[in-house]
Amino acid sequence: MGNLIGQSVKRVEDQRFITGKGNYTDDIVLPRMTYGYILRGNMAHAKINDIDVSAAKAHPGVVAVFTGKDIADSGVNGIPCGWQVDFKNGDTMKEPAHPMLVADKVRYMGDGVAIVIAESKEIAKDAAELIVVDYEELDAVVNAKEATQEGAPLVHDEAPLNKSFDWGLGDAEATAEALANAHHVTTLEFTNQRLIPNAIEPRSAIGHYEVQNDRYTLYTTSQNPHLTRLLMSAFVLGIPEHKVRVVSPDVGGGFGSKIFHYAEEALVTWCSKQLERPVKWTAERSESFMTDAHGRDHVTKAEMGFDADGKIVGLRAITYANLGAYLSTFAPAVPTYLHGTLLQGLYTTPAIYVDVTGVFTHTTPVDAYRGAGRPEATYLLERLLDLAALEMKVDPAELRLKNFIPPFDGVDEPGYQTQVALQYDSGNYEPVLKRAMEMVGYEAFREEQAKAREEGRLLGIGFSTYIEACGIAPSAVVGALGARAGLFESAQVRVQPTGKVSVYSGSHSHGQGHETTFAQVVADKFGIPLEDVEIVHGDSEAVAFGMGTYGSRSLAVGGSAIVKSIDKVIEKGAKIAAHKLEAAIEDIEFAEGKWTVKGTDKSIAFGDVALTAYVPHDYPEGVEPGLDFSSFYDPTNFTYPFGAHIAVVEVDRDTGKVELKRFVACDDVGNVINPMIVDGQIHGGIAQGVGQALFEGAIYDESGQLLSGSYMDYTMPRADDLPDFEVDRKVTPCPHNPLGVKGAGEAGTIGSTPAVVNAVIDALAPFHVKDIDMPLTPERVWRAMQPKTNGREVHS
């Protein structure tokens, strides 16, 4: 009790996970439960001429088969999008229908054409093989830029040139002028490749309609159960929200991919209503690859101009963002407001313009994946800076130090107004880079590198200094930017009569450790033991409302809502204490678990006030019984964590294999509640960022077949691909939330990717290689080292 904030408290949720007692969606079995298997198109773009499900229906053990036509005939709607980004000329965003099952056409490999529901999942799968679909295959397009060319196959007839929207931000004219007058301009054309999130728990959903009280329960692997309830009930199925309960029990990782409302969630709910039996669907891994929303996939041309002193004078970026076949929940926001707005980086660049076209293709929908837009922005900036340093023959660390925004705390000094809409809250950028350089031993490394080069060994070092916008988000701001929902958070703090505390949080924990971190905040503030606090989340019946967990928002927004409720409890407790202690309310103060009359030893303990609140026999007049408060916290700004990452690599000259020898990170995520958990978040983020740099990438063939559709074909980092991570922290508190926290969930992923790529390019300096597209596989790196080729040209 007390002093729990800032301690590496061991996680309370671990007990159930390490003993095999976790409760994940697929672990749940309900009476009379049936099992659904979804037949998906085996082509990426095809007209459905006919579908014959008679043999499947007749198969023993099959309960029902529903097709896209059944869904369409029932009058339900498609899966909605939660964010609107219109065209620059004022035209409305193209937002084609996204049915739960398709009736007319498949538009990507994951489109479902029928669901078979049976007494077991094996029977359902057997029967699905008996469905005969007459497809007429059509040409497909998978590359975002190519999809916008005249004559490209159309994903939706109502979206000419496959454009959903186009969008610009910043001062195009000033930027053009700055670049035209620059002493040096560095240009980079690159692809930020498509990634597949791959939470190790596959998505799963159970729809359970209970006819006796006309109520629906959906169990689902969601980061965001309340939003799923809202979208599914109000927009898709048209059932009253108060008749729908959504439960997200233990969820095995999300990384963004489980934020969104998915077709399968509405489908099992709808099917359960038809059958009056529970219906469970669990993705096989190949379905996860095909249907979990993917991440990244930008084709970009970027230019950065410098004056003769190496100061950045302008930045322009033109991006084609692949949105896949349909608009996923937050898809339009990711390449625009989470990407374009971050192009100021940590630098004083006076003129910036960014142009983004959102494009439909015959591929899996693309949405937020850990970092969501900010890794793309950071990669763009940090690759340009390292390339510029190479071209201008200056040290990449010096170039960054020269261009950093000077420190500002957001309290005595104002926030920093960027050229791209945001106002940074607080920042002090030089110390994180200096500290990371000290940790890696920069000068000594350059000597070692020179010596290694003489011996023919290829050592490289790469920098990345990043900023992110987290704590998503001030509702009025995002509303003005196209969000169709507010992005506040709610929390209820219920002090039980015995002084134990139940906290109902709208945030959802799926690895982040909220049950520990949030409890630390509550126990610390109330001065009670940690074990007296329980955090409840993930059940719309228990928690009044929530906006879920993503965008490194849970502590900054959800934690702040908890603090608001804590303050209300302490304030009401003071009234009760004043009455009991026969003192004036102004003379009461709360500390260390008791209300005390200032300057005396007269006090009343937390538990006694709680009991008095529920057994109000001796109670202040005009005060209601009970000690239970709800709060909604809507932040006034985003939070802006930042940091410096440095990678050290060695490239094998003969094979092109990259060995990541060291990874050093100094991050500033504001105040820290549990350093152990924050370090863990940074570690995991770094691993995913390294994954993008070296291993991962979704590959489609020209017909839209996903070639990287299993763990045999899509490489993620394994334990022996990674070194121990060397991490440290600086602390610049967030000036606008009560805990001073900024968020740590995405920092590792955002910062690490360009550091690794920059290190490889540095290692390859003897070969005069300027760029290689990710992932930096041995083949690509080896080809880049071969005479008269460069990495970009040879792997198309």
Binding site: I18, I200, P202, R285, G511, Y711
Partner: protein
């Protein structure tokens, strides 16, 4: 067609009729309701389903239940004895070796066999030993520390082995 099997799981004898195609992981999860063993993929790649069969760590999505007739199986539920956590379970908690917890049972069961083969592993040997298990949350850093924690603790407890070494 159903086939009768007899299998000892976590010390308890079971007799069941299973379909020939039933995988061990589905038998454990669906028939015995031991849901600590997870299914993360369908290509034997992720290791979330790892259990111990007759002393060897195996991926239970790659073994038929009928192959386990007369076998002895240990799942994560069977690791702690008399309410005491196994040193590996303790290590994962102490060193923050898990986040979402989904890969954790498989990681722990893999490490059980790893430490049996090599009670004093280097970090590199641990990393190589985890080659068959994906974790998407931790970056493996703290998993390596968790296994080292357990290795140290288990070595400390195994006085007889140390004596034997000393005599040898």
């Amino acid at each position: 067609m159903s086939v009768p099997i007899k299998v000892k799981v976590n010390g308890k004898e079971y007799s069941h009729s299973v379909e020939g195609r039933t995988l061990l992981v589905h038998y454990l999860r669906d028939e015995l309701r031991l849901t600590g063993t997870h299914v993360g993929c369908d290509t034997t790649s992720c290791g979330a389903c790892t259990v111990i069969v007759d002393g060897k760590a195996v991926k239970s999505c790659n073994v038929l239940a009928v192959q386990c007739d007369d076998a002895e199986v240990t799942t994560v539920e069977g690791l702690s004895e008399a309410g005491n956590l196994h040193p590996l379970q303790e290590g994962f908690k102490e060193e923050h070796g898990l986040q979402c917890g989904f890969c954790t049972p498989g990681m722990i069961m893999t490490a059980v066999e790893l430490l049996e083969r090599n009670p004093n592993p280097t970090d590199k040997e641990i990393r190589e030993g985890l080659e068959g298990n994906y974790c998407r949350c931790t970056g493996y850093h703290n998993i390596v520390k968790a296994i080292q924690f357990a290795a140290a603790k288990m070595r400390g407890q195994e006085q007889p082995l140390e004596k034997e070494v000393a005599h040898g």
